[in-house]
Symmetry: C2
Subunit: 208 residues, 2 copies
C-alpha cells in the first residue's frame, strides 16, 4: 500500500465520528461537501482521502452513511477490539482508566499499572496493579496491543523501551518528553505544555 499521510488518517477518524452522529440523526446518505463541513476541510479533500482506499460513493448521489461507517471502521482497523494498558495511575492515568469513551470506540483497558498501587483507591480495584516485574508476564498473558504512558517525563523512555521489548508496537505518550522508538513502533505524544504554547504563540503573533 502507498504511504498514507498522518493528516489523512486523522481526518478519516473525524469523518467517522461525524458519520456516527449523522446516522443517529437518521440520515442515510451524505455528500463529500457535508462531510467536509464537519471536519473543517473541503469536499475535494474528503474525496481524495477516501480515494486512497477505494471508491465508496455513488456519483450524483453521495455516500451511503452506514456503508461508509463500515468502510472507515475497516480502514482504521476498528473491526476487532484493541486491548490497552495504562502505565501510571496519577491524575491523568486514573482519569483515562475511568473514561468510558475508550470502550465505546473499541478499546478495552485490560490493565493499569503504578509504582504505588495504593494511590488511586478503590475505584480502580481489580484493574490497578503494581508496576513491577510482573508487567512482562501480564503483557504476555493479556496481549495488549497499545500502551498509554501517563508517567513523569524522566520515566517515560524507560517504560517505553520495556513495553516495546515485550512486543507492544503502539504507544500513546502523555509524558512531556519526546520519545524514541525503533522502526515499526508507532508513538504519538500528547503534550499539554506544547498545546498551550502553540496557543500562546498564536495570541502573541495574531498575524502569523
Amino acid at each position: 500500500m502507498k504511504h498514507i499521510a498522518d493528516s489523512t488518517v486523522r481526518r478519516l477518524s473525524l469523518y467517522l465520528r461525524f458519520l456516527e452522529e449523522f446516522e443517529r440523526q437518521g440520515h442515510d446518505t451524505i455528500s463529500s461537501g457535508e462531510l467536509a463541513r464537519s471536519g473543517g476541510t473541503t469536499s475535494a479533500q474528503v474525496r481524495k482521502d477516501l480515494s486512497f482506499f477505494g471508491s465508496f460513493g455513488k456519483r450524483g448521489l453521495g455516500y451511503a452513511v452506514t456503508d461508509l461507517i463500515a468502510s472507515l471502521r475497516r480502514i482504521l482497523g476498528l473491526e476487532a477490539r484493541w486491548p490497552v494498558i495504562i502505565i501510571g495511575a496519577g491524575k491523568i492515568g486514573a482519569a483515562l482508566a475511568q473514561y468510558r469513551g475508550f470502550g465505546v470506540h473499541g478499546f478495552d483497558v485490560v490493565g493499569v499499572y503504578d509504582a504505588d498501587p495504593a494511590r488511586v483507591g478503590e475505584r480502580l480495584a481489580g484493574i490497578l496493579d503494581q508496576l513491577d516485574a510482573a508487567l512482562e508476564g501480564d503483557i504476555a498473558r493479556l496481549q495488549p496491543r497499545i500502551a498509554v504512558l501517563c508517567i513523569p517525563g524522566e520515566a517515560a523512555q524507560g517504560q517505553l523501551d520495556r513495553v516495546v521489548k515485550s512486543g507492544i508496537r503502539a504507544v500513546l505518550n502523555f509524558a512531556p518528553t519526546a520519545l524514541t522508538a525503533p522502526e515499526g513502533v508507532a508513538v504519538r505524544t500528547v503534550n499539554m505544555a506544547t498545546e498551550l504554547e502553540v496557543l500562546a504563540f498564536a495570541l502573541t503573533n495574531p498575524e502569523a
Copy 2:
C-alpha cells in the same frame, strides 16, 4: 511577519523543553545537531525553524543555551504569564486543574467552572465555580486569555461561542468534536479517540 507553520511552532516548544533540561545538566552551548536529536528531527530543520525568527547561533560554535532559551520564550510569547480558565470539572477537567505543570510553564488556572460545582469536592475549593451566567462577569474581571474545554461534545460548540463572545481568542478543546470558530480565534483539539484510532491504523497497516 511571514506565516509560521504549526509544525514549526510545535518543534520550537519541544526544543525549549529540551534546552531547559540541557541547561539543568550544566551545558552552556548546544549545536543544531544535538538539538535535532532531542526533537526527533534534523539539524537543518532546527536551523530553518530558528531562521524564521532571526539568527541566534555562532558559526563554528553552536547556540548559547541560556540565550536560546530566552529567545524561544520570547518567540513563543512566554515572557508574560497566561491566565487560563477550565470549563468542565469532570475527570479530565479536574485532573488538569490540579496539574502542576501548568504553572511551571507560565499558565495560571484562574477559574474552573462546572454546571454542578458540587461534583469535585474540596480539592478544587476556592477555584471551582458554578458554570452559569456569572461566567461572563468573571471573564471580564479575571481577563483569562485561554479557555480549556473539558465538557461533553454536545456542549462544546456552545461554550466555545460563549467564551469567544466574551473576548477569549484561544481555546484548547478536549471534547471529541470538531469545533468552528471565527477568524482570529485559535482552537486546538486533543481528541483521545482520534489518537487511539491513528494507532489502530498504524497497527493494522504496518507498511503505510
